[in-house]
Assembly symmetry: C2
Homo-oligomer: 270 residues x 2
DNA sequence: CGCTTTATTGAGAGATATCAATACTTGTGG
DNA sequence: CCACAAGTATTGATATCTCTCAATAAAGCG
């Protein structure tokens, strides 16, 4: 795992072409700019480069330099303590910003490591601020992705406390498939980018427990998993695991505003 | 629990006096403004009011209107699902901003409820943006508290996954005592503002388990608890619970930059 | 003073972790 | 091309921790 500065990074075409045609631009920091404005961004502000699987994008504890946009590939974020303990906090797919964890105190709070070969754009935080000064549309454009990240962290926290192993897995699979779909992949048939070990760690369970949960979901005819290849057979049993009383449909289906929380626990109220 | 709009809220003195002398101003949204600038804030932008214990400041799902600063008291934040399930996500003390959870998608993501009588300042999000336009010092002033909140949520997430009940309690007590101290209270002797039920829910354990953990910490001579009154007898056994190898001292004591993570797990590396 | 709520304690049940054995995958070198 | 080694995943048996259920005690409140 080599830090970014050691990689053979090279900028490609002139910036204009790069950003304007980028598939992830709407989710990127310049998403609110007009095409004309994007073309005025100084070419040297944006660096684009590739990373091989297992390479480190930035390290926990190092000072905030860049904010990144993941264009292709997949990245895991992990807290990494000096005694070797690691906690996976997030799996990121194309279109997602990386580095927001450093906004709070100027240091990155996690390691980010590619889990497949990836392509990333980088802008320095300082240059982004300069852009914010020039383009009013960018004024608060970090607030929103930060807020979105905060919300999704809170959902993860909720799930960790309130779901058992099988439910955690069902919830994760549904959610991750949606993210895959949003990133342009098949929602029902794809390759999981992370190892069992990383996934178990993320879900707060041991790999043996994860393995058993996978077996259970296969036995009820919800999914088929072959190593990292995942196929959804039927989502219905997954939803039933997460919501035996089928409250989900009732509540989620107004205004298409789906609650991020699994509705189970029909039994008792704490 | 009555929403804020139903409370008899009245603004007090003219704004100048209010903000300039406020003990929590440095942590507030206007913390980066000069005294002169603060005095130019339109008086009607800031509303200050009191809430009795158990009153709702804002409700999950309602549209973002205000950002709040807690001046006195204590507030709990909770996810609240339609089937009655609740998850406490945070306990806030004076000086903390409230409402940041709504930045992500324009709706508050939690209920906030006072757990003792409190005093709060409110500014509408729109008016704050107007202020941001006028005062360059405010340009990115939501980014930082958002980032700080994100980081503290990630620490909470780490603890929930990696600590057992006794460790969760020890970690919480040390951390909360520090927050109390920062808010101006005695670090070693104070009244816990939350019920056992709320605390257990926050820690992701049942009240019986919490009660047993309290008993254990009392038996090893770390604390004395009488209902909500907490007294620290010695922090040493608490740190030993969280870090049997005493790595914490070694690593935390350079540059006063204390790691937010408890260092235990000297045994195995996942 | 009784009633309701909140907290503590005990005994047994249940879920996940731990330890251990086996199978499968991938890569290497003869 | 096969044999072997190293890493990864699955499955089984047992241990451990927390939950659940239940009883009791203490505190707050009308």
């Amino acid at each position: 795992m080599t830090p970014i500065s050691n990689t053979n990074s090279k900028s490609l075409e002139p910036l204009k072409a790069v950003c304007v045609n980028c598939a992830t631009r709407t989710q990127c920091l310049n998403g609110k700019l007009t095409v004309e404005e994007v073309n005025r961004i100084p070419a040297n502000f944006i660096r684009r480069f590739t990373l091989k699987e297992g390479q480190v994008l930035y390290k926990m504890g190092s000072p905030l330099t860049h904010i990144y946009n993941l264009r292709f590939g997949a990245v895991k974020s992990e807290i990494s303590l000096s005694n070797g303990i690691q906690q996976k906090t997030r799996f990121s797919l194309p279109g997602e910003l990386l580095g927001l964890d450093a906004i709070g105190n100027g240091k990155y709070q996690v390691n980010t490591v590619t889990i497949k070969s990836s392509e990333v754009c980088a802008i320095t935080y300082d240059n982004f601020k300069k852009m914010s000064d020039e383009f009013p549309a960018l004024k608060n454009s970090l607030e929103n992705p930060l807020g979105v990240l905060l919300n999704s962290t809170n959902v993860h926290l909720f799930d960790l406390i309130n779901l058992n192993a099988k439910e955690k897995l069902a919830d994760f699979l549904i959610d991750f498939a949606n993210q895959m779909s949003k990133a342009g992949f098949d929602r029902d048939n794809f390759r999981l980018p992370m190892s069992r070990s990383d996934l178990a760690n993320y879900l707060g369970i041991k790999i043996e427990t994860l393995s058993r949960s996978i077996t259970q979901l296969e036995k009820i005819g919800a999914i088929r998993i072959n190593h990292r290849h995942l196929e959804f057979v039927s989502r219905k049993p997954l939803f039933e695991i997460l919501d035996p009383t089928e409250l989900r449909e009732k509540h989620a289906s107004k205004k298409g505003d789906v609650s991020p929380y699994p509705l189970k626990f029909e039994k008792r109220k704490p």
